[in-house]
Symmetry: C2
Subunit: 464 residues, 2 copies
Amino acid sequence: MARPVTALDAVLDHLAEQEKTHLKELQDLVRIPSVSADPSYAKDVRKAAEWLARRLRRAGLENVGLVETAGHPAVVADWLHAGDAPTVLVYGHYDVQPAQKSDGWRFDPFEARIEDGRILGRGTTDDKGQSLCHVYAAEAWIKNGGPPVNLKMVFEGEEESGSVNFPEVLDKTGDRLRADLLVVSDSMMRGEGRPAITYSLRGLTYLQVDVQGPRGDLHSGTWGGVVWNPIEALCHMLASCKDPKTGKVRVKGFYDDVVRPSKTERATIKEHGEADEDLRRGAGVDALFGESGWSAQERIGVRPTFEVNGIWGGYTGAGSKTVIPATAHAKVSCRLVADQKPEVIAAAVERHLLAMAPEGVRAAVRTLNDGDAVRADPGHPLVKAVGKALGDAFGQPAVPLPEGGSIPAVADMQQRLGAIPVLAGFGNRDENMHAPEESFRVDSFVRGRIACARMLAEVAATGR
Amino acid sequence: MARPVTALDAVLDHLAEQEKTHLKELQDLVRIPSVSADPSYAKDVRKAAEWLARRLRRAGLENVGLVETAGHPAVVADWLHAGDAPTVLVYGHYDVQPAQKSDGWRFDPFEARIEDGRILGRGTTDDKGQSLCHVYAAEAWIKNGGPPVNLKMVFEGEEESGSVNFPEVLDKTGDRLRADLLVVSDSMMRGEGRPAITYSLRGLTYLQVDVQGPRGDLHSGTWGGVVWNPIEALCHMLASCKDPKTGKVRVKGFYDDVVRPSKTERATIKEHGEADEDLRRGAGVDALFGESGWSAQERIGVRPTFEVNGIWGGYTGAGSKTVIPATAHAKVSCRLVADQKPEVIAAAVERHLLAMAPEGVRAAVRTLNDGDAVRADPGHPLVKAVGKALGDAFGQPAVPLPEGGSIPAVADMQQRLGAIPVLAGFGNRDENMHAPEESFRVDSFVRGRIACARMLAEVAATGR
């Protein structure tokens, strides 16, 4: 007995027919070097925003427009003709990390060459390729009777430069972006062809530590042995923050608000997460190190961290200079999990560091930026619906996993728009996001579009 | 009864008559920007060497010439007609530290303006002014019957760039520079108008520490909590080198070869050295810190140190970057005292640091440069003779004190020429050597010449 032809079949047929065209269009978009961090690319960033707005209009989306900010604009669009069906907000970004051939690319990073089943170039996987999957899925639905859900889309132009003006986008759009579900495709799969649902992101507090020793730089001969060297003071202060044996953060109160994962969640991470040995090989180290009592994948996903991201002081050039510097500095950050509050942790770290600063130096700690952790219930029907769509598109079940990174815009949207956040990414670790030779598998792009189309049907099926 | 007119009286009269001329000539020499570290000043360095050679010839010194090296030349001269009298070798340098008005000078650093009893400009106190004192003293003696000692002089052209080619000067001159006493005027007085005899200099070993963590930089979100951060490993390693309570260096064997000062020496340092409170105010810190059981002045003079001179790793620019860097680096140095050997201490520090490097990082330590400590017996007749001359010239007794800095060329000369080293300096702490607004007190210059003339008589009086 023949299966009845459904709207979804027509949508999938449309996507199959358009495969080559969509890939060509992705090349066009990649060729616009929309580097948001470098002001000399400002025109290209706007060009990419306008390219995307035109394409959204052509796809049949409505109310397409640019939301201007103090920085680069966001592109918004919607299609709201599904009545009482759930509302899905798609978030992506059209800006990219900086890239220059001399960084270690074999080709011009904005050439968008296709080779060995991948499209090569800056922004291919992060996040132009992933963003366009949603645009093409929307178009396929609109051209075949309309999506079964109400659809809203926002594409940011400053994700790669810290999303500093994204709150302004939310201020200006107000209720326009309210949704039941927030879908973000700016993350990675569990491995080649193995889809993953990311239901949590870590938060962040990022601090700068400044230590002042003597009034000015001192000659280490005529002064050596007399004052606290601010570099050494800083080393003592930073070394005191983490137990070198257990990997536990020693800052008082640090773990107080941490939500412990359930047994089920730990079992899922154990079953589907990366093995310690694979992570060890991936990092290229002789031995892993971290908080005792947790696997490496758990430490990345559900445990907070303390890391020193940068340190500097004294003479750092070639050869030698015998100086006791006046100052030393470090950048430190903590990745946070629910329900840690960035400002609470920042204050605790500051208290600890100041208490550890020896007499004879003056230390100051200030917050450079922060963001809340994001966490959804991996068992929520909407989250499971997205997972089913991914599983069907890629031919194997989607694994629910927590993610160690932070996307401040997602936390903002969860809090301000009341949407349940879920990250359904099509990237892979070996696709070099933020590095030379970024690429995106053509197969991920092809199936990603299908996953995006399917998830609208699955979400609609949950009812409201 | 009139005191009989001696040769010394005639010498002192000559110096008094020539005061204005000598000051003008110092201005001429300061106006030649003989910056040895910057190749674009190479012609000026040679011009200064030739100026000095001409002046030495005019003073009546003999065998005046330039000793060519792979770098800048040294200028040598002698006057060897005192028969069995002792031989004095004078060492100074005619090159200067870099200086640009924009560094914070009120005037062109090579203008040599005279203001408020000081001559202002790069090289005035370090070391052109101090070097010329010896030239003028020699001239005064030569024009008045000849010095009572055999006199040798060497003026280096690369002291401010590490004296790397000075061993070549000693190779080329061989026995020509052998002497009983080595007098160096490239150091400081105890305070304004208070002469000091420096009978020891610290040695040095200067190392670079490189720590390698993961193969490449890692994103602190997707990897945070899994690997030893090389910056934190380095902080632990460096923090372990010194007890934060007692200030003792914790490196095994570090103090084994240290010569302990005698009770007399400690008493002299206590009586004449700077008080802790003065050093605290000088450094501009709330509290001093160093090895317990020793005064600050003792820690500078007769105790070895461990200092971190520079540290760097990860992101050090503006704002934030969430990176776990692949590497972290530090420059560390130890000031050494007799009889510590630089290579022994370097090996001990290396062993300690490598033992403290946690599993999961790889550390390497290499020596960038080193030099032996210099030490003379403060009670030696030749040392005391120089002290008496300084005391007579400045009108108060010269204080014998150990010095914390290192002058590698002096260690070389002590070892290769068999001379007893003594530093008789005319500089003052507030004369900003190596800093903007360097100056030299005109009175120090005037009396410095007298001290140099007197010391030749005092040394002659010791016999041989």
